[in-house]
Amino acid sequence: MSGPAGTTDAAAPDAAPAPRRRKRGMTALVVAGSVLVVFAVLSAVLASRLGESAEYTPPLLSRPVPALTLPNLDGGNVDLAGYDGKVVIVNFFNSWCIPCKEEEPSLIAFHREHADEDDFVMVGIIRDDTVGAVKRWREGRDIGWTLVDDPDGRAAVEFATTGQPETYAVNPDGVIVARHLGRATTRDLERMLAAARGEAVS
């Protein structure tokens, strides 16, 4: 087929002997075919990523809680790895982040629910904020759990946080077993607590 077009500007001379031309035709076919195969594989890969989240989430740490000693806002120090035999809920937060504000009622309700259980500890770690601002923020709020500072951001790095709020659950053996990125509801918090206690997760 020469195409529906009438004219041909430049046709290749037919001088080349037939076998040579057939060989060249084969080469073209092989090259075109391999380009298409590579492309098909690539599009299959791209297609498989459709609908998946491209957001990065650090792998969930099943690692011992870092042995850090952090200054308690009410004086003294808190040893994060020193809560042997207890379930620890660790919450990263600060006074200015808006999702943290939205999370506040859930945290308060959740803490009130479990505060008198013997194996329950809840620690809030300041992320990217100053002690003064957090103390001002705490005034007039019913924050019953321990708040600690993270002056050089070591805790934030050790827990591999990517922002705030973020919540982690540590089981009685001192291993981080559950995590929630972003604003957590009471339901999320209950689920993490259950996971840390080794109870069946609903």
């Binding site: 990065y56 650090p58 992320r127 990217d128 050089d152 951001g153 050790e158 946080t161």
Partner: protein
């Protein structure tokens, strides 16, 4: 080729060599803790940014990681130990320079394969071209070209890309 003709090129080559030697001479303490921490930070990916390194990112998270890297350097950890510590926390994802083993090796190997392939292909092409009977310019052609050169104003390169 006469020595006088070669001399300017030799001088140029010498200038280039001297310049490169000057440019690579050891500078201010190559393995200073700052430099090491900075280099490591530039190879770690900031976990809260879009593809930036810890060294580049102004975010508080990146600053905290950079401080942590510096602490680890001061504590005497090796580059590999520091990188491993971060891979343990953030996964392979944290390394901006993919490793040269495992699946990631492909990303290093393929360009080399492509380069060698292109080189071999070009060599074949030139060999085929050099075996092909070339068309030889006749005396008439040469005269034609000469006339065109003479009549065209200026150096022929200035009309070359028309």
């Amino acid at each position: 080729m006469s020595v006088r003709r070669l001399l300017p090129w030799a001088l140029m080559a010498a200038a280039v060599v001297v310049a490169l030697v000057l440019a690579t001479r050891p500078g201010d303490a190559p393995a200073s803790p700052e430099a090491r921490a900075e280099r490591l930070s530039s190879q770690l990916r900031c976990p809260v940014c879009q593809g930036l390194s810890v060294a580049d990112s102004p975010s508080s998270t990146a600053r905290a990681i950079a401080d942590d890297v510096r602490r680890r350097v001061d504590a005497g950890q090796t580059d590999d130990e520091i990188k491993r510590a971060y891979v343990e926390r953030y996964g392979e994802w944290v390394l901006l320079r993919p490793r040269s083993d495992g699946v990631a090796a492909v990303v290093w190997a393929l360009p080399v394969v492509a380069l060698v392939g292109a080189g071999v292909g070009l060599a074949f092409a030139f060999r085929r071209w050099s075996r092909q009977p070339s068309m030889h310019a006749t005396e008439a052609d040469r005269r034609l070209v000469e006339e065109a050169r003479v009549s065209a104003p200026g150096d022929d390169e200035n009309g070359a890309a028309t």
